[in-house]
């Protein structure tokens, strides 16, 4: 942790009015991100991880959405900024790359045009200078013959190359924070590794803080300094990579860890799964949202939702079990041969 947090989300709540009722997509999420840090947000589809970060950038324009809480970026609350002020932060302060590179670029404009559009929206530079920078950026993200490719249209690139273009665009104004929303989900496995190493390289070069949204524990293991595990709109566990991987506190995290296929361990007979489905966000249970799927549920779990408690240091966890019980139960939940207890 280095000094003041760059971004701090405080008790963010996002709900959507729908015909069936109020959907509580994000329910009291608090996060912080320091300069140059990589935060991994993990969770399954619908757990609220994308909505959280989209809300940070105020990218949800749905008139039925309601927001509560604070998002402090360099001390300013983004939730209260005017449209014009948030526009200035987008791209220069916080930039975002999205899940599907096939649809995230405008099909009717050349990629160079799309990059220079962002540069020229924020900086008073000539077309030529912006274009030269676009070519540099494309080369920096590993696009061969960038000087020619700058004039290609998105459909003339492969998925991986398009994601590189998206990354080039996102870093074009040297943002402090780069939000990557499942940047590799839509890509081939071989390309995934390339994109991740590119992100790591850019992060090291520019000192950009990264928020990596993913459902892939392997990706966060590779990239993240800290990890937040989300379930049903809440953070259920948060801690350093080491803490979450080697001293996981929440049964849901155990389930996620147990479901990773590992090649460096004896092969389990069957990969562990988490039974059941996440609860409907329309009618969250009164107790723990994970209760229905949890093998270690007891009375308290049905009575009230667990609070996010400090385990130690910055390791937080939302489970009613006692720390001692957890240690024992964890062994049986995650395959014994998969677990390394924290020294």
């Amino acid at each position: 942790m280095t000094g003041e947090p760059l971004l701090e989300v405080r008790d963010l709540k996002v709900s959507f009015r729908t015909e069936d009722g109020l959907v509580q997509a994000v329910d009291g999420v608090s996060l912080s991100l320091s300069q140059g840090e990589t935060l991994g947000i993990v969770g399954e589809s619908g757990s609220g991880k994308s909505v959280t970060m989209m809300s940070v950038m105020r990218l949800i324009s749905d008139p039925n959405a309601r927001f509560e809480g604070e998002v402090l970026y360099k001390g300013r609350d983004l939730m209260t900024l005017k449209a014009e002020q948030i526009r200035e932060i987008r791209g220069t302060g916080i930039a975002m790359i999205f899940q599907d590179p096939m649809t995230s670029l405008n099909p009717v404009y050349r990629v160079g045009w799309q990059i220079t559009e962002q540069i020229r929206a924020h900086e008073n530079v000539s077309k030529q200078a912006a274009r030269a920078r676009a070519i540099e950026l494309l080369a920096a993200v590993g696009i061969p013959q960038a000087a020619e490719r700058v004039d290609n249209y998105p459909h003339e690139f492969s998925g991986g190359m398009r994601q590189r273009v998206m990354i080039a665009m996102a870093v074009s104004c040297n943002p402090d924070i780069l939000i990557a929303d499942e940047p590799t989900t839509a890509l081939d496995v071989t390309i995934q590794a390339q994109i991740l190493s590119l992100l790591r390289k850019l992060k090291d070069e520019f000192g950009t803080a990264v928020v990596l949204i993913t459902h892939d524990m392997g990706v966060v293991a590779d990239m993240a300094d800290r990890i937040a595990v989300m379930y049903a709109g809440r953070i259920v566990e948060q801690g350093s990579r080491r803490e979450v991987f080697y001293d996981a506190q929440h049964p849901y995290t155990w389930g996620l860890l147990g479901s990773i296929a590992r090649l460096d361990r004896p092969k389990p007979r069957r990969l562990a799964t988490i039974p059941g489905q996440p609860p409907s966000l329309l009618r969250l249970p009164e107790g723990c949202a994970f209760g229905d799927r949890c093998a270690h549920r007891f009375e308290l779990c049905d009575e009230r939702p667990p609070l996010l408690n400090r385990v130690d240091g910055n390791h937080l966890d939302a489970c009613h079990l006692e720390p001692k019980q957890k240690k024992e139960l964890r062994e049986t939940t995650i395959h014994p041969e998969l677990i390394e207890t924290a020294e």
């Binding site: 950038m57 990218l59 324009s61 008139p63 449209a83 526009r87 200035e88 932060i89 987008r90 791209g91 220069t92 930039a95 975002m96 999205f98 599907d100 649809t103 995230s104 670029l105 405008n106 099909p107 009717v108 559009e117 962002q118 929206a121 924020h122 249209y153 459909h155 998206m166 665009m169 104004c173």
Partner: protein, 323 residues
């Protein structure tokens, strides 16, 4: 791009050839239709019919007749009307074209500008009462038959309110050539323009609104917003630009059809002697040379406008560009 244009032009020639052959065959092979009889008038004697056939070349084999007609239509341009003896068809159409073009171009300008305004406004005002209100008004515009609208307009501007200050500026019905008096040309066409464009404003406005709403949910619009460009620019350069693709292809079809004679009803109601009016008369008289000439004219414009639209389409959407 050049090969694309050349290919389109060759295609145009082929289409026009097929159309002329089809019209020609229909005319001569429809049971009960005898061109000689149509020319001769009531109760002609066999001798008269014989003479007419010889005079108009109707006794020659069909392919020869076709070739003759095409020759006098395209090469010598002296094709003569069957029903109006002595009237040459090509100059007649050439004389009618400016009226039709004036009518359709003016209406098209109005409907493009207005429908974009309606579509964008409705999409932006979504969630307020103005969106459904605009859409209902658009629907009324679509539902109102153009000949009825035209008659009502005439009734008001030429009849009941003509002597008031409101519509005393409206000139009598008919087309006034631009070259003679541009101001009169404009004043005479403004009511027909509005009448013709109302249907299309409603229709295009609704289509555009739907397209904008669809495009607004596209990932690339979210990307554009995340880039920190202004909302105005997101709307104009990203949402609207991409939404215009359907709009343009529809426009090509409608515009071509109108220039080709589809503005017939408006031309008749406002006594504008354009190509639609001419076609209408020729069909009533079974006047093959005029029909043939208007059909060729119409086909030419439809194919031409479609070619222009395809080029515009390729410009709007790089994905369909031939490589």
């Amino acid at each position: 791009m050049l090969t694309f244009i050349i290919r389109r032009l060759l295609w145009t020639v082929l289409v026009m050839f097929v159309i002329t052959v089809v019209v020609f065959v229909i005319f001569f092979k429809t049971p009960g239709v005898d061109p000689a009889r149509a020319i001769a008038g009531r109760n002609p004697s066999a001798l008269v019919l014989q003479e007419i056939r010889a005079q108009f070349g109707l006794d020659k084999p069909l392919p020869v007749q076709y070739a003759d007609m095409m020759k006098s239509l395209f090469v010598t341009r002296d094709l003569v009307s069957y029903s109006n003896q002595g009237v040459k068809v090509v100059p007649e159409i050439a004389a009618a074209t400016p009226a039709t073009l004036s009518l359709v171009f003016g209406a098209a300008l109005i409907w493009v500008v207005m429908s974009i305004a309606v579509g964008v406004a409705a999409a932006l005002l979504r969630g307020t009462v103005f969106d459904p209100l605009l859409m209902v008004v658009a629907l009324i515009g679509i539902s109102a038959p153009v000949f009825w609208l035209g008659q009502v307009a005439n009734l008001i501007t030429q009849g009941t309110l003509h002597d008031t200050f409101l519509f005393s500026w409206v000139p009598p019905l008919g087309y006034n050539p631009f070259t003679q008096d541009p101001w009169l040309w404009f004043k005479g066409l403004i009511i027909p323009w509005i009448t013709l464009s109302i249907l299309y404003i409603g229709f295009y406005g609704r289509v555009l609104r739907a397209n904008i709403l669809e495009t607004q949910n596209e990932d690339f619009v979210r990307t554009a917003r995340a880039k920190g460009i202004s909302e105005r620019r997101v709307l104009l350069r990203h949402t609207l630009r991409t939404s215009m693709i359907t709009f343009v292809s529809l426009f090509g079809l409608d515009f071509g059809a109108l220039v080709a004679g589809g503005a017939l009803l408006v031309e008749v109601v406002f006594a504008i002697h354009g190509v639609g009016y001419l076609t209408y008369q020729a069909l009533g008289n079974l006047d093959l040379p005029t029909i043939m000439a208007t059909v060729v004219y119409g086909a030419f414009f439809i194919v031409l406008v479609n070619a222009v639209v395809d080029i515009a389409y390729a410009w709007l959407d790089p994905r369909i560009r031939p490589t």
